[in-house]
């Protein structure tokens, strides 16, 4: 009886501690949304969580201050493009590395591991001049090419390889018997079976591109080409001071949809990160 009682007390203490600890994880989101509805005077006055006056105009001004709709669209289509390309390229390479024993495979793996170890900050300077030589400054190309072929693409390749290694081979052998080419086996048998891995790669790749900052900062200069993180950091007045209410309104617009998707699919999303973390 007493053992059970201590267990219950123990649980309650833990839960209270966890609730307190959760505050700095939840509160910023609430404060962000609340700040997005406040007027400038209220932003600098005594802070309250519920705005005294709800200023919905902030969410209109966000779109007039910068081409925010265009910037939003940029982030969406770039992340979608990067995701589709990564899925295609990484699953092709991952399949070959898992299923075919070929000369150079070991060396290639070694190279790819190396690409994981080298921080992007190291290669970004030469890549800048490479992109400039290609005439692609202030275009979205570097934001697509560098992530697809950079460390993020390597993580995706390893994830796919790992998944294919664990798949039973029999179905693919049967496909070969039926006259499918290697490419046909990959497309018609291996890929449909690897939906969980493809989903994981899609989730981490999309989010990585969506949150990308260094590359847009370096390569983009015109406002209508900005992506969301760059646009968000750009809500400043002519003195370079932040226009807090607009910035927070814009940040809410960028963050809340992702949060809603996360809340709906949290299990899948967390698992995807766990997979890539273990691999990376």
């Amino acid at each position: 009886m007493t053992a059970r009682r201590t267990e219950i007390v123990y649980r309650i203490c833990w839960t209270i501690a966890l609730l307190l600890l959760a505050v700095p994880f939840i509160f910023p989101f609430l404060w962000m949304i609340s700040g997005g509805f406040k007027s400038t005077t209220e932003i600098f006055g005594a802070p309250t969580l519920i705005p005294r006056v709800w200023r919905f105009e902030n969410f209109v001004e966000v779109f007039t201050y910068q081409p925010f709709a265009r910037q939003y669209f940029n982030s969406l289509y770039i992340a979608a493009t990067v995701t589709v390309l990564t899925l295609f390229i990484a699953s092709l390479a991952g399949y070959a590395l898992a299923r075919i024993r070929f000369a150079g495979a070991g060396l290639l793996m070694l190279f790819l591991v190396m690409a994981l170890m080298v921080p992007e900050e190291v290669t970004i300077i030469p890549n800048f001049f490479l992109i400039r030589a290609m005439g692609l400054i202030d275009t979205h190309w570097p934001l697509i090419l560098l992530p697809v072929f950079g460390p993020q693409g390597v993580v995706a390749t390893f994830l796919m390889r790992q998944f294919f290694l664990a798949l039973p081979k029999e179905l693919e052998d049967a496909g070969k018997m039926d006259g499918l080419s290697r490419f046909g086996v990959w497309l018609k048998i291996a890929l449909p079976m690897s939906r969980p891995a493809l989903a994981a790669v899609a989730i981490i790749t999309f989010l990585h591109s969506w949150n990308l900052f260094l590359e847009p900062l370096i390569f983009l200069s015109s406002l209508e080409k900005f992506t969301l993180p760059l646009a968000l950091s750009n809500f400043n007045d002519s003195y370079g001071l932040p226009l807090w209410n607009l910035q927070l309104a814009a940040t809410s617009l960028a963050v809340v949809p992702i949060l809603i998707i996360y809340l709906i699919a949290q299990r899948q999303i967390i698992e995807s990160f766990a997979l890539s973390g273990v691999k990376g």
Binding site: A22, F25, P119, E121, V122, N127, N211, P229, Q266
Partner: protein, 309 residues
């Protein structure tokens, strides 16, 4: 075989059928990996070679062309420029603050959340939420909350009678603020890795030890912790590397200030390379960063290996 009968002509297969098959397999494999491989050559290996060359040149806005200066840039960084050691010091402080805090918190959360109980999904979701949020968005909100006057954090501190500092305007407080907000942003990832590791430990071990009369702490110290060692190593390496790479968070929250108090290596490289256009010097800095990351990784792996023997 059946797929392309035309190529498997009788002459070839009669001589050495395994060779043709193997060659074809190899061609197919390289075709499959070619996009990855070509991209790797262009956007990784090429730049990696180029950075060694860049680091030996003087190349800036004044001298539009790169001139060979040998190890001049490295001398400049390591021996002459006081900024460099200040930046390294900041990076080390950042790592020394972030890594232990992150790992201790991640492990505690994982231990609390690795068993099913009421609310476990809620807590996991909450602690992981900042991980999927952009670092820029996270830094914007925290910068807003950490203002000296009227910031939410100082307001809350005032309730319990503490007069909070102007967090992001004083070098030491700014560093502390950047570390703590970064830990909150990223701890969920390590928590998840620890939870996965904890759940793969067979329950029998711990149950047996408890039956033998071991306390919770003894079970953790003698059974759980040693079994977690491989995971701890991976997490430690990844978190340390990550701490040296931190850029967007600092860019948005402090811009390296105040008084260069949060100017860390990744930010310094960006500043030198892309704001001041000291390309040669920035390249040398990038190589030094690469070396630091490599040494740290190898050191941790070797230390742990010795530990486990």
């Amino acid at each position: 075989m059946a797929g392309s009968p035309s190529r498997d002509n009788a002459a070839h297969s009669a001589r050495a059928p395994w060779l043709t098959l193997k060659t074809r397999e190899m061609l197919e494999a390289w075709l499959f990996v070619s996009p990855t491989f070509i991209g790797f050559l262009i956007f990784f290996l090429g730049p990696l070679v180029a950075i060694f060359y860049y680091s030996t040149t003087e190349w800036n806005l004044l001298s539009q062309q790169a001139t060979f200066v040998g190890l001049r840039n490295f001398e400049n960084a390591l021996l002459e420029n006081p900024d460099f050691w200040h930046v390294v010091r900041n990076s080390v402080i950042f790592a020394l603050g972030l890594v232990p805090l992150n790992m201790a918190l991640a492990l505690s959360l994982a231990l609390a959340l690795s068993r099913p109980f009421f609310g476990v999904v809620f807590f996991r979701t909450v602690f992981f939420a900042p991980v999927v949020t952009s670092a820029i968005a996270w830094a914007i909100v925290w910068k807003f909350m950490l203002q000296g006057q009227g910031g939410a954090v100082n307001q809350m501190l005032a309730w319990i009678g503490i007069d909070g500092p102007n967090w992001l305007r004083e070098p030491n407080w700014a560093m502390a603020a950047v570390i703590v907000t970064r830990v909150i942003k990223m701890v969920g990832l390590n928590m998840i890795l620890y939870i996965a590791a904890l759940q793969s430990i067979p329950r029998d071990y711990e149950e047996a030890a408890t039956l033998e009369g071991a306390s919770r702490w003894q079970v953790f110290r003698m059974i759980t912790w040693p079994l977690l060692a491989p995971t701890t190593l991976v997490i430690m390496v990844l978190t340390t590397i990550g701490s040296f790479k931190v850029f967007d968070h600092i860019y948005q929250m402090t811009g390296g200030g105040p008084e260069n108090g949060t100017l860390v290596l990744a930010f310094y490289i960006y500043q030198q390379g892309f704001k001041f256009f000291n390309v040669g010097y920035a390249a040398a800095l990038a190589l030094i960063m690469f070396a630091i990351v490599m040494v740290l990784t190898l050191a941790q792996v070797m230390l742990r290996r010795r530990d486990m023997e």
